[in-house]
């Protein structure tokens, strides 16, 4: 299992496409910080939890596109042609799916660490700001639901037809350009940019970091929805293998 995981991870990471996309993510993150986040989101400080959450929400579309793109490797024609061989190994298709998703998780973590690292450098460099503990909560609200749901739906889409994965990428691209800012805002950038405007602000003019119950529920739904979709993918691949 470990060897396969190591192999799958190496296949994704030691790859000029991943390195290229990682660079694009990094450049995009810096561009966002210096042109958008620097102004502060919803009249809050650029280093407030709201601004950081909006930043992560704005970085996410590119990160998720990268993950979906890497995921598309697993459903390419070449990959499908060798599936007959891999199905003969003692590892079940479900286990394969879990291993590959874990490899994707590592890629996603690398991209997220890069984006967060760049933002921390930005905060230290421009504002000499070091109190990063407040950033943990927005990161938890944004990163896990986005990744789990995207991989869950991506695995299922890829299993049905590879073209659906590209449609999914297109949908992610379109969602990132939409003005939606409600609790169900998938990437969360719209929500983090608009919700603080409705909150009372303290003596320093900053609203406290309190998200609505609807938003928490929505994040939970995305997270559990992703897991459910993932389980469905495992079950479909299991049935397919049995049929074969």
């Amino acid at each position: 299992m470990n060897r396969i995981f190591y192999y799958e991870l190496k296949r994704l990471i030691i790859n000029k496409i991943f390195i290229g996309l990682l660079l694009v993510n990094g450049v995009y993150a810096w561009y966002l910080l210096t042109t958008d986040i620097i102004a502060g989101i919803a009249y809050t400080a650029p280093f407030s939890a709201w601004s950081f959450g909006a930043y992560l929400g704005k970085v996410m579309p590119f990160s998720i596109l990268t993950v979906l793109f890497l995921l598309s490797f697993y459903y390419s024609k070449k990959q499908k042609s060798v599936e007959i061989l891999t199905e003969q190994t003692p590892i079940s298709p479900g286990q394969f799916l879990i291993i590959r998703s874990t490899a994707l998780l590592v890629c996603f973590l690398i991209i997220s660490i890069l984006a967060i690292g760049i933002s921390l450098f930005f905060y230290i460099h421009f504002w000499e700001y070091h109190k990063f503990a407040g950033f943990l909560l927005p990161a938890l609200f944004i990163l896990p639901p986005c990744f789990v749901f995207a991989v869950g739906i991506g695995q299922l889409a890829g299993r049905i037809h590879q073209a659906l994965l590209y449609l999914l990428m297109l949908a992610a691209f379109a969602v990132s350009f939409s003005d939606f800012n409600g609790a169900f805002d998938f990437f969360g950038a719209g929500y983090f940019s608009s919700y603080p405007l409705s909150l009372p602000f303290d003596a320093f003019g900053e609203p406290a970091f309190e998200v609505s119950m609807e938003f928490c529920t929505a994040r939970l739904i995305y997270f559990t929805g992703g897991i459910v979709l993932f389980i469905i993918s495992i079950s479909i691949s299991g049935k397919k293998a049995k049929k074969a």
Binding site: V24, T35, G40, Y43, F204
Partner: protein
Amino acid sequence: MKFFSLYRVELRRLALSKFLWGIMILCLCAPLLGYSVFAMSYSEVMSGKYIANPVLAGTTIGAILWAVFTIAESDRQHRMGTDVLSDAIASPAILCAARAAALLSFSVITTILSSLLYLPYTADKMEYLFSIGFYMGNFFTFMMPTWFISILFAEAFYQITRRIELAVMLYAVLCYFSFSRFAKDDYFSRWLNPLIVTYSDGFPSIWPLRVGIYTRAIWFLLAAGSWFFALLCIRKYQKNLVLSFARGLKKLYILILSATFLAAGVLLWINQPFVDHGPEEYVEQDFSQYPDIIMADSIDYSLIVNPVEGSLSGKVKYDYSHYTGGGEQKIQLNTGYKVTSVTYAGEKLTYKMPGDAVNGSQSLVLILPKGKSGVLTIEYEGFPSMARFMYPFMVYQSIDKEYISLNDAAIAPVNMTTTGPCTARITMPENLIPFLDYEPMHNFVDNHDGTKTWTTKSASGYLMTFYAADYKTESFLAGDVKIDFAYGKKYEDTVRNNNVQQAIIDVFDYCTKHYGKSQYANGKKGLLLQQISAMAMGGHATEGYCEWFETVLSPDTLNDPQKGANNTEVFIHEMVHQWWRSYGLECKEEELWSNEGLTVYSTYRIVKEKYGALYAKKYYLDKWQEDVDTQNREFYYRHPEYFKKLPKKYRARLNQQNESINWYSRMPLMIKRAEELVGGEEKMDAILQGMYKENSLQNPNSDLFTFQDFLNACNLTKEDLYLE
């Protein structure tokens, strides 16, 4: 097989493709979105709504559709596994070229069909404003070249990667670049969604088409260069990218073509003639560092305008017959002009142009010889370029068949002056009515070649502004003030039907009654009110002159009672400046004090009297309060200590934003607060009248009027006017 036979085969094959017909139908439908949800220009005029928006929507959406089709078609043989066979029959590079040529041909057909499809509707909607040339020009300037560019990039990305998903991703990144904030206000970066700020109905200008053609040429060269490069990457003998490229290098001429196209695109971009290559922000210049101006006995300007090329050639003669002191002269000239000759007393004079582009002009340095008098003659010519800080509203320096707008160094060299007469002769198309330095020109000679030469004596040594268009001028009296009201002939019905003349008289009556007579009341000096192109945006006032962009007088604005302050305000605002500015009472510019605030407050009062308190509250008081509330909440406004840590460029942008809110919203709201504290509108009117009487230029010894002066006049303190 030769290219042309392959091209015919590809044409026939594609013509039978249902996918292609689907793409063409979608491309034909795409402009429909421009009428509603996908309005890409900021235009409020008819040609913007019915030409720019649909063409831009069709251009952008169509370009993406063509790219999708191109990538799918490029991958078709590889996907079907027939590439091995076809490669054996024909050269893959020639096949690729034939396919690209066939796709480009179909995109041309679609452009023609699209332009014909929307022609009757557009012509019907725009009525007498419709021009078939301008309409078709938009399709062939924006739509067709952008589709070419998109097809070439898509094909290039596919041939380089030979992977459909990678090609799509690279194309998506390029699209993102065009839509990103980086390219938002940049004519040159937006390859997919060309930037058209607005068009003009009354003063049609092909300036946006000139820029459009230029930017399309840049991107076409870049796309073609990439496409040629991609030809080298076409996979051969089942080899990978690197080995195929190495084999492709044998056709060195393709590499040379690729490099040439790419270099040409980059060079065109770097050397674009539309905007100066100086700093992005406005630069305050220290003219005390300049050598003393040597006064000429007289100055003679001869300018010839060439609307076809959009260029101007000029000859200026400075008469130094009574001067022999010699010395250095530093003159400012528009960055788009080059000096062709400088002579002094009939002999050639050496000069330097250090290339220091600042605020749209560059220096011309020359040294007059000592002990010699004579006439200094400077000849120059070129395409006037715009100051970078004005970007992207660049039509202030524009020469067209139907509209000419030039300022300062774009007309003639500045920083030279005279003790004697100054004569200006301007040759231009006969249909245009010119205005020089805010005054109409009257004397002309018909050259019988489609041009007229207009002559005038200018009051100052240098020429400040020059407008020419198909104008109609009405002269009338507003009280004692003689008014010349110049507007585009195309607006004749609109002006008459909406009784604009009476609206102007009402504003003057209000200000005269409430503040006192303006200095034009003696009837000797006229006041020129002028409508200018919608592309100039906003309004402007100076001594004896007010101008507004044309949308202020458009039928939509005048007929819509809910239009609000945005457009109507400009109309009244600029006229009110005849009381509150250097030619009336001039305020000292402070953080919370300027001429603008007083003018905005007076505009509010006029609007309140005209349209009622509810209307004035909605479009003025509430808007000011909203702006002030927003500013109060801004992080950097609350924390100036962090503001200081921002990069200089960002600080300058925020300063500009704050200045605008302080003068146009916070200050009028403070005056409104003062009005309440002093006992109401009548009391405030009495105070303002007193201020105007005592401090306007009618009293030449008065100093600039400060915020403290205002507080003293109201008997209030700063704290009284503090806004939560």
